[in-house]
């Protein structure tokens, strides 16, 4: 039985941990929405987050700002690469995304060994900066999608590119810009891990956050607000996991130690899976998601 103050501390700690868990998911999820609402499947979010985290840490050794700019540049370049591969060379969207993820995982591991085998310490950006960004970005994205020419064309490109073309819209530039911005958002999410949360880079530190962000996009029905709420929801499970670990609670039941670190680590992923199963069949993706632009005749 803890005191009231102790319970309040519990709550605050859980809230902070939730926000910290949710921020990278939310930022990457906004990138996912930009790409997917334009019709481009983006499982490359994972690799983009990882690349952003790496570039942020490496170039942020002396100035966090330089690290941030470098990370966003890398994100833009990889986003553009995904856009060109899928839209110009017409590669399958999942194959291209998978390729970028493998490239990011391999390259960051190799570069870590070459550039800083003994670890790295970067400058940091205040968490408040990220929390503010995470608060503003969904509203800004919702406005762009709804009320700007670019947003309208982006949605049209994702729903029915051939109809959009018949209405006089050029699809290619819209999608190139959308997926490039998507890369920037995901890399920004990555810098939260290296510049915001830890001040370092460790290998595979994205740890599936790109995929969970994608799950948040689906759970949020491809809407910024929905994805933001879903990110907070998934962030809560990260928080519960870490809080349980920190507090070292022991729950033994049926001979299984449910609070063992190995099982707790699975919690966010299991909950994501459960959440996704609950929306299967009810979430409608953009109608032309993943399809090649009309070669119809």
């Amino acid at each position: 039985m803890g005191s009231a103050g102790n319970q309040g501390f519990w709550f605050t700690a859980l809230l902070v941990a939730t926000l910290n868990g949710a921020a990278p998911l939310l930022l990457a999820a906004m990138g996912g929405i930009l790409s997917e609402r334009a019709g481009v499947v983006n499982i490359a979010l994972e690799g983009l987050i990882l690349s952003g985290a790496f570039a942020g840490a490496y170039f942020g050794q002396h100035s966090a700002l330089i690290g941030l700019v470098a990370a966003l540049t890398v994100g833009a370049a990889l986003g553009l690469l995904h856009a060109v591969l899928t839209q110009v060379t017409k590669m399958n969207h999942v194959v291209s995304g998978l390729g970028i993820n493998l490239l990011a995982a391999g390259a960051t591991r190799y570069l870590t060994l070459v550039l800083f085998p003994d670890g790295i310490t970067s400058k940091s950006l205040p968490p408040a900066f990220y929390l503010a960004s995470a608060a503003i970005l969904p509203a800004a994205l919702a406005f762009v999608l709804r009320d700007t020419r670019f947003g309208l064309r982006l949605r049209a490109a994702g729903e029915n590119p051939e109809s959009a073309r018949m209405a006089g819209v050029s699809i290619l530039p819209v999608r190139l810009v959308a997926v490039t911005l998507s890369g920037i958002c995901a890399a920004f999410a990555g810098t939260f891990l290296s510049l915001g949360e830890t001040h370092t880079f460790s290998r595979d530190m994205s740890a599936g956050k790109g995929y969970i962000a994608l799950a948040a996009v689906i759970f949020g029905k491809w809407n910024p607000a929905g994805a933001a709420v879903a990110s907070l929801f998934f962030g809560l499970f990260y928080a519960v996991q870490t809080q349980l670990q920190i507090r070292g609670l022991n729950i033994n039941f049926l001979g299984v130690e449910w609070t063992s670190p190995a099982l707790l680590d699975m919690l966010p992923y299991l909950m994501t899976l459960a959440a996704l199963i609950s929306v299967i069949g009810r979430a409608t993706p953009p109608a032309a998601l993943g399809q090649e632009e009309g070669s119809a005749h």
Partner: protein, 548 residues
């Protein structure tokens, strides 16, 4: 037959707002337009008519910049000025005052009405923010000019009826200041009353100075509304008339074309196998397949077939004639089990014809087991998997059958052997390829042979053949005819759905004619002629109950 052919001898080109001169357009494996000319008078109401596959839509899409004509072939002029090579995208044509109301690429369902209208021609504030208020004011004004009420601009387009969506498309063209309005089969999905209202709207636009060009295969619309008409057949120009100087009959003849009766591709086979149509004993026999009161809805949720009844006997070919979109597709899909009946029944006789069982709710596979085979209309989408080998395509549908080499583990040797037999038996021309070749590498005629072989080699009792010669040359068509006649001789009942009237007349023991979703007549071979069937097809025959 020679009428006021509008070849424009003493017209100077300034009278024409749009001219497509000598246009040729080919797609891989098909020439959609061959040396076609279309000239549209300023302020005219011009119809382009032809059967399915005549190249009408392609021609409109060329004018709209969606397709480019084959290079070096023809000239395009707008307002007398040559724009050849400049119409590289719809955006270019829109700039030149051309608007298209398309059959397939209409509004985007998930966007609101206003978003659909402004898409691609948005007015924006600095920073790219949409001027929604201005746009909605402008759109409301266009709508009130047109007398359109009750369309909420903020409603998602998918919630509008098909007729309302089409009107929004017209609004969309006018919002872009279109001077020439192209419409691709505008009444294909409309109820008759909606079609009337659409044409009334188009006529009021024409009076206000807009030039209207519409594509149709409905003669009634041409005669009732157009001022001039261009007929296409098989991708070629088949006539150009002032509507007042021509007749329904003349247009039908140009549309369908009439092959001289003697030109039947294989006359000796016909006399040899059939010995003439087998109608005499029909009344004594029990039907093989019995469709009663079938009402079927189409993919877009509109009623496609109304209360259709038809009997098919063993050893006969029943041809289903009708202009495209009269409900044939839905009826054929319902018989093979791809589409459910809203009401009515389908019954199949037992093998001894002593009893019959209802198959109305049976699955496609169940019907297939009972002996209903299908030659789909679209070879590439429904007939085969182009990336599969010939042997694999031949196996499809029999993949559970050990005798075909199917089962849990496929027996490659049996599949190969059976495919080899089929290739010899049906004379599939492989060139230097083997049975492992991709089906997509075969010519259209040889692909069709594989599809037909697969249908017939399951020893079916009923064969539903849809457009079996579409896109085939004369030689390959002859082969298909022969295969259908052999099926009949072997005692199968064959339902031949075809848009090619000559084909239907030549092969069928009886001809059922569909118009407007109804079977408006069933004629025996002796009474079925291009005139009698043609009249039923266009709803011209009084007393059919469906003439409008």
């Amino acid at each position: 037959m020679t009428t006021a052919e509008n070849s424009g001898p003493n017209q100077n080109s300034e009278d024409y707002i749009v001219e497509l001169l000598g246009i040729t357009k080919s797609f891989p494996g098909i020439v959609a337009n061959s040396d076609v000319t279309l000239r549209v008078k300023r302020g005219g109401f011009h119809a382009v008519i032809g059967e399915n596959g005549a190249g009408k839509s392609t021609l409109l899409n060329i004018l709209y910049g969606r397709y480019q004509p084959d290079s070096g072939c023809g000239e395009i002029r707008i307002n007398g000025e040559s724009v050849t090579g400049k119409l590289t995208s719809p955006a270019q044509s829109i700039k030149m005052g051309i608007g298209l109301v398309s059959q397939h690429y209409a509004l985007i369902p998930a966007l609101s009405v206003i978003e659909n209208v402004i898409l691609g021609s948005e007015q924006v504030l600095p920073g790219g923010v949409l001027k929604r208020k201005e746009a909605s004011g402008e759109i409301a004004q266009i709508m009130s000019h047109l007398g359109l009420t009750g369309i909420d601009l903020n409603m998602r387009a998918e919630r509008l009826s098909v007729a309302a969506q089409q009107k929004v498309e017209i609004v969309k063209a006018l919002y872009r200041k279109a001077r020439v309005l192209l419409l691709d089969e505008p009444t294909a999905v409309l109820a008759p009353a909606e079609a009337e209202s659409l044409f009334a709207l188009l006529q009021s636009l024409q009076r206000a100075g807009t030039t209207v060009v519409f594509v149709t295969h409905k003669l009634r619309e041409v005669m009732a509304y157009s001022s001039a008409v261009t007929v296409l057949r098989g991708g070629k120009l088949a006539g150009d008339f002032i509507t007042a100087n021509t007749s329904r009959e003349e247009l039908l003849e140009r549309m369908i074309g009439t092959r001289p009766p003697a030109a039947s591709p294989s006359p000796d086979i016909e006399s040899e196998i059939t010995g003439g149509p087998m109608v005499e004993a029909a009344s004594e026999r029990r039907p093989l397949l019995k469709i009663q009161g079938a009402t079927i809805f189409g993919s877009r949720g509109a009623k496609a077939v109304t209360d259709a009844s038809l009997e098919l006997f063993a050893g006969e070919i029943v041809g289903i004639a009708g202009v495209d979109g009269s409900g044939q597709k839905e009826l054929s899909e319902a018989i093979v089990g791809l589409r459910t009946l809203k009401s009515g029944t389908i019954r199949l006789a037992s093998c001894d014809f002593l009893s019959e069982s209802e198959i109305t709710r049976d699955s496609v596979r169940r019907r297939q087991k009972l002996g209903i085979a299908y030659i789909p209309e679209d070879r590439h989408r429904a007939g085969m998997i182009l990336n599969f080998s010939i042997g694999e395509n031949y196996l499809l549908g029999h993949e559970k059958d050990r005798a075909w080499g199917g089962g849990v583990f496929l027996n490659r040797a049996t599949i190969g052997a059976r495919a080899g037999e089929m290739i010899t038996g049906y004379d599939v021309r492989l060139g230097t390829r083997t049975a492992d070749a991709r089906a997509g590498d075969l010519s259209g005629g040889n692909q069709q042979k594989v599809v037909i072989a697969r249908a017939l080699d399951g020893q079916p009792r009923v064969l539903v053949a849809c457009q079996p010669t579409r896109g085939l040359d004369t030689g390959a068509s002859g082969f298909v005819y022969e295969a259908l006649r052999k099926a009949r001789a072997a005692g199968m009942g064959v339902l031949l759905f075809s848009l090619d009237l000559d084909e239907v007349l030549e092969l069928s023991d009886r001809v059922a004619v569909m118009f407007n979703g109804q079977i408006v007549g069933v004629l025996p071979h002796s009474e079925a002629t291009a005139e009698t069937v043609g009249a039923l097809m266009t709803g011209a025959t009084a007393g059919s109950g469906a003439a409008r």
